[in-house]
Symmetry: C2
Subunit: 178 residues, 2 copies
């Protein structure tokens, strides 16, 4: 039996970089929530600048980055938009999303545009639920049924305490149902 | 711009095998929710047998498996506890959890015991929030500050459409805060 402690370090998590207004914040705590309607949830601490922005705005973006962008993720995660303009400070190329007030990073391999559908407090975080209204991903990264090419997409995975790694495409195994 | 479709296939996700009563169900949609209190959330469709069980029970387990158990995960995910006893059918060695009515798989590298704290409907799934009351993980898999040894733990990651892969420990990069 172990102490509960940092229970969330026990498995790696992809990073979702949340864009609200001009600001970007990486979140390792996020998950799909519903297939139809398409909902994605992100956990945000009420201490965060992004939380203030989310209360005011009607939508946000979710950017998915590859492992070669891990240093950028680390910088975005260790600074606050209250103190600096992260886009300018870290020279991040990004475009305004088409339907919501948030940024799409040019270095993202995929991104969602989400309408804010709910914010619900659980413990020390809020679950921010977004309804996905647009998806950006280059066609050449996709394979059948909207799966991504595991050889081309090497996602940033956070494994706790400033450690990032990625997937091993050669480990791919397929177990067809029946 | 892409169709929304299977938006949840665009990034890999660790698998959490949820244990309620004698039953086990893998869930790729799960996330930490709060550090203090320690809350973990799992998305469960109301169509699932596990959902029926969760409504009645006061707690559940969350089992984390390595990639070499992917075939077992696939079997658990393509069958229902309404039809079969999965433990018996698939010869899965598991022990009753100490504090809740759920199973801890002997093949898991880590597991939580959770008290059910909330069930909330979002779209076509329910978010089941568990308060973690116990953690099981062998000491030899842990490093400083409860991070796991990336060379020993090769977790099962689900990448959509029956595809599983794992992490590449040699890709580890550390970006210390300042």
């Amino acid at each position: 039996m172990q102490k509960i402690g940092k229970f969330y370090y026990l498995f790696p998590q992809t990073v979702a970089v949340i864009g609200v207004g001009q600001n970007l914040m990486p979140a390792a705590w996020h998950t799909p929530i519903s297939a139809d309607p398409p909902l994605h949830g992100v956990l945000v601490s009420p201490k965060r600048y992004t939380f203030e922005l989310l209360k005011k705005e009607k939508g946000f973006t979710v950017n998915f980055l590859m492992h070669d962008q891990a240093q950028c993720i680390a910088k975005l995660g260790s600074t606050s938009g209250r103190d600096i303009d992260k886009l300018e400070q870290f020279n991040i190329a990004a475009n305004r999303a088409q339907k919501v007030n948030g940024m799409i990073m040019q270095s993202s391999y995929a991104a969602y545009e989400c309408e804010k559908s709910d914010m619900h407090e659980y413990g020390d975080h809020f679950l921010v639920v977004g309804r996905i209204i647009s998806i950006h991903i280059p066609d050449e990264l996709l394979r059948e049924e909207q799966t991504v090419d595991e050889k081309r997409v090497l996602p940033a995975l956070y494994f706790g305490k400033d450690r990032y790694l990625t997937t091993d495409p050669d480990s791919l195994t397929i177990f067809p149902k029946k």
